[in-house]
């Protein structure tokens, strides 16, 4: 069959081409031309930018800037120290470094969401470890912000369930309303728009999490706002900006129950119901008394 033969020949050529790709410059260029997208394609630019960010260098090294350098010092505020001690008491005294992540989080809360070198050095002192060990942990976790943040960190969940329910539109709406792109901070310093992995509210997708750094450690909150639409997402942020406290959790339902109303658990549960233990005890006692009486009667 000519089609099968053509297919076979094409297959052979493809195999041949792959085999030759490392050795023959011309075919290598041809392969690259096939796989690389044209440079002016809009989608190519977008993917190139994200890809560039994925391959970019320099995020995991520290650069001294006037507001964050190795000459500065920092300590936990006096009001926060009891919390620090409470955390340290959870761990054995020779394993102080187990407290590293909670302390870094606490420090971040105190410093408006920004983890600086001075803070990491202070924590290294508190935990009696070398500073590099703290740097390693702080750079490993993306929730530790080593850049200046806005007062409110708005994180949009972008994982599959939320994406299917429109997280991209939420993101776009917030980008438009705030006037920044993802990962940027607004000029007034109020919001930083970010993204987060799945936060477990998939039933109430799409959702955002907002870390509130306006009131230090005592006033720190990390709240989810779920069941959003592009409009309600913007409304939530407007409310936060105005200093109000918008509804936390789902914006339209109580918890994660079906929107149109319960389809199960609509009435009281059927049996079996628990036994009346008092009645049973009474019955047992009565039976025992009767048996004792019968035995006594027999003896006579």
């Amino acid at each position: 069959m000519p089609r099968a033969r053509a297919l076979a020949r094409a297959l052979a050529r493809a195999v041949d081409a792959t085999a030759r790709v490392a050795l023959d410059g011309a075919s290598m260029r041809a392969t690259c031309a096939r796989t690389m997208t044209k440079p002016n394609d809009a989608r190519a630019v977008a993917t190139a930018r994200t890809r560039a960010r994925a391959y970019s260098v320099g995020q995991m090294v520290h650069r001294d800037v006037p507001e964050d350098n190795s000459t500065m010092t920092w300590t936990f505020e006096a009001s926060v120290r009891p919390k620090v001690d409470a955390i340290l008491r959870r761990y054995p005294s020779n394993y102080k470094r187990s407290a590293m992540i909670p302390l870094l989080d606490l420090a971040q809360q105190q410093n408006k969401g920004h983890l600086t070198l001075a803070m990491m050095n202070h924590i290294a002192d508190v935990l009696e470890v070398a500073p590099i060990r703290v740097y390693e942990v702080a750079t490993f976790y993306s929730m530790f912000n080593r850049q200046k943040m806005g007062k409110l960190h708005v994180m949009v969940c972008g994982t599959t369930p939320c994406m299917l329910r429109g997280s991209r539109e939420i993101e776009k709406a917030l980008e438009e309303w705030m006037g920044v792109k993802k990962f940027e901070t607004t000029a007034c310093g109020t919001f930083t728009l970010g993204e987060m992995e799945c936060m477990g509210c998939c039933v109430n997708a799409p959702m955002i999490a907002v870390a509130d750094y306006r009131n230090g450690v005592e006033g720190y909150s990390y709240n989810y706002y779920e069941d959003l639409t592009p409009q309600t997402a913007v409304k939530v942020c407007e409310a936060l900006k105005a200093g109000k406290s918008p509804r936390v959790g789902s914006q339209i339902r109580d918890k994660a129950e079906p929107i149109k109303g319960l389809t199960t658990l609509t009435g009281d549960p059927s049996g079996p119901f628990s036994r009346d233990l008092d009645q049973i005890k009474a019955d047992v006692d009565a039976a025992a008394a009767a048996a004792a009486a019968a035995a006594a009667a027999e003896k006579k």
């Binding site: 260098v57 995020q59 090294v61 520290h62 070398a130 390693e136």
Partner: protein
């Protein structure tokens, strides 16, 4: 014992047999003799081997003679298990196992030649090469690169990668270590070395996944005296030697086994030369001396071998300027002066970098002339009678058995960085306590500083100090005395008290001799061993009229004395000289150096002396001829035989002798005097990078000094 400690001990035993003289015989013996009950039988590729309990599968494969590729595993570092290159198949295991981390079970059946293992290795290699830049042509590691070698032997022969590779910023680690972090494969050997061996916790791995970067996070100098060893450890070209960058390829170099003289440990090195030029110095493994490490000074001061060299005989004319002359004239001139000077006014000083052959030649010639005033540089007050009074008696390996260490007037971190590694291991892994009377320094492990005055030492030696109880209670207490203490005028009194203390507090008991002297240069012990000390008739009453300096930079010479300097660098000593006889540096002559333990080791010459310079003992042999007192040896073997005649341990190279402890008789005849309380105990090393004439002339060492000063400023 922890798994790591077992593996380390087993590895140490293994290396003793592997590198010992009877290696082959011992291995054959173990194969045929009845298996040791402490071992378990393991099968590797059908061959049964018996290995100690608790060792890793990788160790078992090595014992069976099977090569297992690896990147992150190193027998001196903790096990990381992150490269996955050592995967082997173990029967009954559902997945291949990382042999570097898996302990053996009795009866394990290990296979390394199956398809599964082959595919695993090819796969791991493919992953490692994904982000590895195509730098081989410009990478210094090419030719000695573990990635190249293992890719060639174990990897696939073709690539299918058409994506983008990631790039990483280069880090600034100082003037010694060049970094190209794009090449880094994140094996974390350098991180583990800095943390565990060097004790300087500066390196780490920040970020994760594709963004992971090995570095110091902040721009920080890798401030350890052992920083150059990460260059050997790094399996790829991410960390390379900055002074050596782009100068030579490894296959052009000829390696010659030699001994380092910049400190007293006698670290075994290999001098790589290309033609008549020393290109670099790398360590040789010797489990008993320097394990696998050498200090930065040993590694990087070779550039001084090309600078400020004395390469022609010179004589100071009547105008006070040095003029080039011929060997015949110079030797004749010196011989005339020697014959004309009364023997009591002749002094000979042996430099601290001299080899034993040249020192015995000088001593013999001086003695034949009737002169007996011979002293090692700086060690005029040291008695050479009893070897145990000036050697590291516990031996370097014995440090790991110590449970209490008292440092007196020494900073082992700067004086002998490789010994400090052993001390660190004793403290961290062995739980030893270290206290120090002397300089208050950061030793890279916790230690207690007791003070730096003779008063503190007095308290300890008289038994009144709190630490005396701890020393008495310890099983293997050690005392380490620094060489600066030996240079003091009151050294004999202090040593007498320390010796008495050692006897009283049980520092020396039974088989254990815990009294140790740490020398800071390669030639001092050799001088003391051959008896290069003043003879009976030598006295300081007659002022010196002729001083013969064999490479010594610091020596007493009254004004008007005739100074002969025989050495290799034109520095302090040569500038005072009336006659300069150019000698050979330690890489240019075959010489015997005795390390601080009393181990005589031979450094083979890797090239000839520069210019018109000659080997030092030959110069002295020729001079002796001119002076009418010809020395009875003409070949190197004959000199060596003379050395064995003077001290029998020179006939047994590379071995340590157990020393006799004279139980306080050593200094019994010294009259009791008060120690000089005005001078505190200092270390002999002020600037680690510049301690002897070679390191002081090195440009690389100057850069290091500058970098350190900047860091400390």
């Amino acid at each position: 014992m922890t798994r790591l400690a077992v593996a380390r001990k087993a590895s140490r035993e293994a290396y003793k047999t592997l590198f010992g003289a009877r290696a082959g015989a011992m291995r054959a013996m173990s194969a045929e003799a009845a298996p040791n009950p402490d071992t378990v039988p393991v099968t590797v590729n059908g061959q049964e081997v018996h290995v100690p309990k608790g060792v890793t599968v990788l160790y078992a494969c090595e014992q069976a003679g099977v090569d297992v590729p690896r990147f992150c595993y190193h027998h001196k570092l903790s096990i990381a298990g992150n490269c996955r290159m050592c995967l082997v198949e173990v029967e009954k295991s559902p997945k291949p196992v990382a042999s570097c981390a898996m302990p053996v079970m009795p009866g394990m059946n290990i296979k390394t030649t199956t398809d599964l293992v082959k595919k695993a290795r090819e796969g791991v290699m493919e992953f490692l090469l994904i982000n590895h830049p195509l730098d081989c042509p410009i990478c210094d590691q090419g030719g000695e690169c573990e990635l190249q070698d293992q890719s060639y032997i174990f990897g696939s022969d073709r690539s299918r990668f058409t994506e983008y590779k990631r790039a990483v910023e280069d880090k600034e680690l100082g003037p010694l270590v060049k970094t190209v972090m794009t090449r880094c494969i994140h094996c974390t050997r350098c991180v583990r070395f800095s943390t565990e061996i060097a004790g300087v916790q500066d390196m780490g791995i920040t970020g994760r996944g594709n963004q992971a970067e090995v570095g110091t996070y902040i721009s920080k100098l890798l401030a350890s005296e052992l920083s150059g060893n990460v260059i050997d450890l790094c399996p790829v070209g991410a960390l390379t030697s900055k002074p050596f960058a782009f100068t030579a390829r490894s296959w052009e170099l000829e390696g010659t086994p030699s001994i380092d003289v910049t400190d007293g440990l006698g670290s075994n090195i290999r001098v790589d030369t290309r033609g008549n030029e020393v290109m670099r110095i790398v360590p040789r493994a010797n489990e008993e001396v320097n394990e696998e490490w050498i200090s930065d000074k040993a590694r990087f001061s070779y550039d001084a071998l090309k600078r400020q060299r004395l390469d022609r005989p010179m004589v100071r004319g009547s105008d006070g300027k040095l003029q080039e002359t011929s060997w015949e004239f110079a030797l004749d001139y010196v011989a005339e002066k020697l014959k004309a000077t009364e023997p009591d006014a002749i002094r000979a000083v042996a430099g601290k970098l001299c080899d034993a052959e040249s020192m015995i030649s000088l001593k013999d010639m001086m003695n034949k002339l009737g002169a007996s005033h011979t002293t090692p540089e700086g060690m005029a007050n040291v008695s050479a009678d009893v070897r145990s009074s000036y050697l590291f008696n516990s031996n370097l390996v014995g440090v790991e058995d110590a449970d209490y260490v008292l440092l007196i007037g020494t900073n082992p971190r700067t004086e002998a960085p490789v010994l400090n590694v052993r001390l660190r291991r004793a403290v961290i892994a062995g739980g030893a306590t270290v206290t120090s009377v002397g300089p208050n320094a950061d030793l890279s492990y916790p230690s207690t500083h007791l003070g730096d005055t003779t008063a503190t030492l007095e308290e300890i030696t008289s038994g009144k100090h709190a630490v005396c109880e701890a020393i008495k209670a310890a099983n293997n207490p050690m005392v380490i005395v620094g060489s600066e203490l030996l240079r003091r005028a009151d050294s004999k009194i202090l040593l007498k008290k320390i010796h008495a203390m050692c006897d009283e507090l049980g520092v020396v008991k039974g088989d254990w001799n815990g009294f140790n002297v740490l020398h800071d240069a390669g030639g001092t012990v050799g001088a003391l061993d051959i008896g290069f000390v003043p003879g009976t008739s030598a006295s300081n009453d007659v002022p010196a009229k002729l001083v013969y300096s064999l490479g010594a930079e610091e020596f007493d010479a009254p004004a008007g004395a005739f100074i002969v300097y025989q050495g290799h660098h034109g520095a302090q000593g040569a500038s005072k000289a009336d006659v300069i006889l150019p000698g050979a540096a330690y890489t240019e002559k075959t010489g015997t150096y005795v390390n601080t333990e009393g181990r005589a080791q031979v450094a083979v010459a890797s090239m000839g002396p520069v210019g018109q310079a000659k080997e030092d003992w030959r110069i002295l042999r020729a001079l002796s001829e001119f002076a009418g007192v010809p020395l009875p040896y003409n070949t190197h073997e004959q000199v060596h035989r003379r050395l064995a005649e003077v001290a029998p341990h020179f006939a047994k190279l590379n071995e340590v002798e157990a020393t006799l402890w004279m139980n306080g008789a050593t200094y019994a005849h010294e009259k009791a005097r008060k120690a000089d309380a005005s001078i505190p105990f200092k270390s002999s090393v002020e600037n680690f990078f510049m301690t002897d004439v070679i390191s002081k002339t090195s440009a690389t060492m100057a850069k290091c000094t500058e970098a350190r000063n900047e860091m400390n400023a």
